[in-house]
Amino acid sequence: MSDNKNIKFSDEALALCNKLMKRYPEGKQKSAILPILHLAQAEFGGWLSAPTMDYVASILKIQSIEVYEVASFYSMFNLKPVGKCVIEVCRTGPCWLMGAEDLVKYIEKKLNIKEGQTTADGMFTLKTVECLASCGTAPMMQIGETYHENLSFEKCEKILDDYKNKGEEISHYRKERIKNQSEIKQ
């Protein structure tokens, strides 16, 4: 086990973890691993370090290896540090037919990075991902929970500039949602 001392969920995130674990039968709290790893990514800088995964294991009362093997299987979990904004461009068939390949090249040129890399200022990481079920509005990219669809180069440029100007850290699981859980009683 790594040193967990500095890794701790906020009170709100911990309360949400407890709600999530209660969704499954007694003794089956391991089922909450995917939702809790999403929370961990939102709380701890957009990626899952080994100590973060050990911490999640301690919450779920399972072995660390059980968290590692799951975290490494699912493509939404980042096992290395990422930028504040992770750009996920869909590269699969229907998006490709509509020019996704050119879109990726455009973003690479604009940000001066290659796919899989992070900009020097730590603002953006560029990932390509598989079909995001947005084929009718191709090409598209996802940033955090937001789908940006029907993209052109200009539209893409404006979106990236907006994120850069705001400079906020964006996660898949909405952080405001962790703070305000009024709609999540179950």
Binding site: R23, P25, K28, K30, S31, A32, I33, L34, P35, L37, H38, L60, E66, E69, V70, F73, Y74, S75, M76, F77, E88, R91, T92, G93, P94, W96, L97, M98, G99, D102, L103, Y106, V129, E130, C131, L132, A133, S134, C135, G136, T137, A138, P139, Q142, E145, T146, Y147, N150, L151, S152, F153, K155, H172, Y173, R174, R177, E183, I184, K185, Q186
Partner: protein, 446 residues
């Protein structure tokens, strides 16, 4: 023709909320269902002829009737909202626009199956839809449509959201169950089937979003009336996700049996091919089903008009036909490179193979590499036969159908577009330098 049962009222104000949904007739099917016996509901669904809308097309009523009922063991309904078949986006559309039809369908279906705790497994990328559904669920609890003693019926039900994290394989029902248990999404060997031993070894039914939503109109109108819609054994309506080089991409609800030609060219649906181009090929049911060239998608080998139905699309088997699948309808124009598109699909399956079965884990990677040789201009004629050989050694030799899903597109592309592979062999270097003659969407002005 042209009845819509699922997305007929999306223009109504507030249809996303409980009050808007109820104002437009929502939850009347639930009130009706709670006065029926669970067996009667299963019977209505059987009569309706409803078939699984996720891709396999298995009769839903029959699937329900297989659920084991050992005394004292809880049963579960799990909604498969892990929509990830390339070309398919209907479930996301439906859940986002009309979340309560799914919740209402979940309650009726859970009641029919005798489940008191049910789950909606949604893919992690659709996190914003996850929040929409969580809100809808909370509204339903507040209105006693969920929770204890629903509408005074004595029936208790909890519905919980569960979120995935990016894995195509979790759309396979046993992969989904493994994932719901908090593990890697490795599909299970069957039998035992989920209806006997599913999540946490309990009897489980996994149904697609659209399938569960369709139960609502079936209860409202009766199974017999629903079965009158459509054609033959393809009853009811189906959501079709239309994408690619068409004028009007989007989600369309059709009565099964609409001619393919009408679907592609009518302004009511896809509105024809963009920029005045000609159509080259169609993948009719999501990336896994065989691609067909224009002449075979519009007409069967016998020369009859091809219809949007399970039977008509599969007419001719895999030699000249395809499948309705998930209804992911991808249209390609004359500039599309079939070989490069195939490489893209094959890379997808290689990426998404869970790695359990060697034929799939290794074979998808080999096929991707061989296809890359074509694109780079290094392939020989023997590589066409090699591809054919590899795909044949994956099909039918894996635990789950991802093997077939990876093999079929390769077989169909070679079968119908062999000359294009040959062109890459003879002229591949030039094709690489000039263009892959695939269409570049005009991103500058889109």
């Amino acid at each position: 023709m042209g009845r819509q049962l699922l997305i007929n009222d999306l223009d109504k104000e507030g249809i996303q909320s409980l009050s808007g949904y109820k104002a437009n007739g929502g939850y009347t099917a639930l009130e009706k269902a709670l006065k029926m016996n669970p067996e009667e509901i299963v019977e209505e669904v059987k009569k309706s002829g409803l078939r699984g809308r996720g891709g396999a097309g298995f009769p839903t009523g029959m699937k329900w009737s297989f659920i084991a009922k050992p005394p004292g063991v809880p049963r579960h309904l799990v909604c498969n909202a892990d929509e990830s078949e390339p070309g398919t986006f209907k479930d996301r559309f439906l859940m986002e626009k009309k979340p309560h039809i799914l919740i209402e369908g979940m309650i009726i279906s859970s009641f029919a199956l005798g489940a008191n705790v049910s789950y909606i497994y949604i893919r992690g990328e659709m996190m914003y839809v996850y929040h929409i559904l969580e809100k809808a669920i909370q509204e339903a609890y507040d209105a006693n449509l969920l929770g204890k003693n629903i509408l005074g019926s004595g029936y208790d039900l909890d519905v919980y959201m569960h979120v995935g994290a990016g894995a195509y394989i979790c759309g396979e029902e046993t992969g989904l169950i493994e994932s719901l248990e908090g593990k890697r999404g490795n599909p299970r060997i069957k039998p035992p089937f989920p209806a006997v031993k599913g999540v946490w070894d309990r009897p489980t039914v996994v149904n697609n979003v659209e399938t569960i939503a369709a139960v609502v109109p079936i209860i409202n109108m009766t199974g017999d009336e629903y079965a009158k819609i459509g054609i033959g054994k393809s009853t009811g309506t189906k959501l079709i996700s239309a994408s690619g080089h068409i004028n009007k991409p989007g989600v369309y609800e059709i009565e099964l049996g609409v001619p393919v030609e009408e679907f592609i060219y009518s302004d009511k649906y896809c509105g024809g091919i963009r920029n005045g181009k000609k159509m080259k090929a169609v993948v009719a049911g999501g990336s896994s089903v065989p691609i067909l060239p224009t002449e075979l998608i519009l007409k069967t080998a016998k020369g009859e008009p091809r219809l949007m139905s399970y039977e008509s699309l599969s007419d001719g088997g895999f030699v000249t036909g395809t499948m309705l699948g998930s209804g992911g309808f991808i249209v390609m124009d004359e500039d599309t490179s079939i070989v490069k598109n195939l490489w893209n699909f094959t890379r997808f399956y290689h990426h998404e193979s869970c790695g359990q079965c060697s034929p799939c884990r290794e074979g998808t990677g080999w096929m991707e590499k061989v296809l890359h040789k074509f694109l780079d201009g290094h392939a020989t004629i023997a590589d066409i036969d090699l591809l054919w050989d590899i795909q044949g050694k994956i099909e039918g030799k894996t635990i789950c159908p991802l093997g077939e899903a990876a093999a079929w597109p390769v077989a169909a592309a070679i079968r119908h577009f062999r000359s294009e592979f040959e062109e890459y062999v003879t002229n591949g270097k030039n094709l690489k330098d000039v263009k892959h003659y695939y269409r570049i969407n005009n991103l500058q002005t889109a």
